[in-house]
């Protein structure tokens, strides 16, 4: 079936079976492989994208359910020329090692800070509890998100 949606600001038409998850449609139909698939059943958070302003797991959503929606993936958060504030902060704080979970961390943190630019460490930990990282132990990730908050204050 044909699905019409907006991905990273561009109107797109995706041809996909009804059973196709949004994650697979983004990766296979659009080549947006920044969205990573870890568990494919809603546990690891690696596939997090932003749909109509809310961070969601793209493995737990059918592509067809994104009909008419605005989807933002990790690719949509920077312009390829410069790092986004969160990306820069993740690099500065060494908040990634293998990088597999990073797109999910960044999209989740972006959605959070867009709504709550003053989120404290407890709130950040609560929100990122839905994203698994097997390398870092999370401390540097929380510090990176805390440090990126300034860029979200007073309008992003």
């Amino acid at each position: 079936m044909k699905i019409h949606t907006e991905v990273n600001g561009d109107a797109v038409e995706i041809e996909a079976e009804p059973r196709t998850t949004l994650a697979d449609a983004l990766r296979h139909a659009l080549g947006l492989t920044g969205t990573h698939l870890g568990c494919e059943h809603g546990v690891c958070g690696a596939c997090t994208v932003i749909v109509d302003g809310r961070a969601v797991r793209s493995c737990l959503m059918l592509a067809v359910q994104a009909e008419g929606a605005r989807v933002v993936t990790v690719e949509g958060l920077s312009d390829d020329e410069a790092l986004s504030p969160l990306q820069a902060s993740f690099r500065k704080h060494h908040a990634l090692q293998c990088g597999f979970c990073t797109p999910g961390m960044i999209t989740t943190a972006h959605a959070l800070l867009s709504d709550e630019p003053d989120a404290d460490a407890d709130r950040i930990r609560d929100v990122l509890s839905g994203n698994l990282c097997r390398c870092t132990g999370y401390i540097n990730i929380v510090e990176a998100v805390l440090d990126a908050r300034a860029a979200y204050r007073g309008g992003d």
Binding site: M1, E17, P18, R19, T20, T21, D24, E40, H41, G42, G45, T48, R54, A55, V56, R57, C59, L60, M61, L62, V64, Q65, E67, T108, L112, R125, D126, V127, L128, S129, G130
Partner: protein, 283 residues
Amino acid sequence: MKLPSLDYAAPATLEDAVRLLAAHDGDAIPIAGGQSLMPVLAFRLAAPALLVDLGKLPGLDRIDISASGIGLGALVCWRDIEDDARLATAHPLLAQAIRHVAHYQIRNRGTVGGSLAHADPAAELPGIAVACDAEIRLVGPAGARTVTADDFFLGPLMTALEPDELVVELRLPPWPAGRRWGFEEFSRRRGDFALAGIAAHYDLAADGTARDVHIGVIGACDRPHRLTTAEALLNGSRIDDDTIAAAASAACREVDPTGDMHGDADYRRALVGTLVERALGAS
């Protein structure tokens, strides 16, 4: 793994949705947020011919708060409940319990109707529904009917919902000012399924004793239910350290948990007692 092959429909009216379910005779499943159903499909525990997406149905995304109680439409998301500042006073027990539902991304899509229909014994909303004498409104080919929460949840992932019926609303009775309450649950990681959880509330009579005590348990049971022996001990009593200890002890004896890899039956039984103490202590 990838989902099984299936068809998809997104009807525009409740009548059309029910008609599609009825026409497929049990081989169609409603989907809304999909936060429980999508993993079920990914594990191939279900392989329906048709998914009926309720996302386009009008009017089911409302939170109604009035003197007659609180209505949560089937398409209300956890995030909507978290963001509704009225609920902090209109139903603080609900507001507190919903903070424990899964993780941020799941709270952004998971729905009231989906949680009720999925009926996970560890889920928070079914526990609140049972602990608060809620009613669940259903619609099917024969029209609407209302089922009490206690009659709705039959066992693990089992409800009174017929295959051609939909949950349309959860109705919670009004929350009196001054009602005392507590909600406590324990899971090994933040956002994981509760090994056990307790929702408790009661009203205070003029002489300081408790009236209308309700204690609901989730997690350490095959369906959410009230702990009526513990409630009976507290009705008409003052809530103090002694009565709380007696209620916790009764709750341990009353609950009938099954063990699994996350916690054996004895552990869950002890946990129920501890959580009853904490919930009443916080009330």
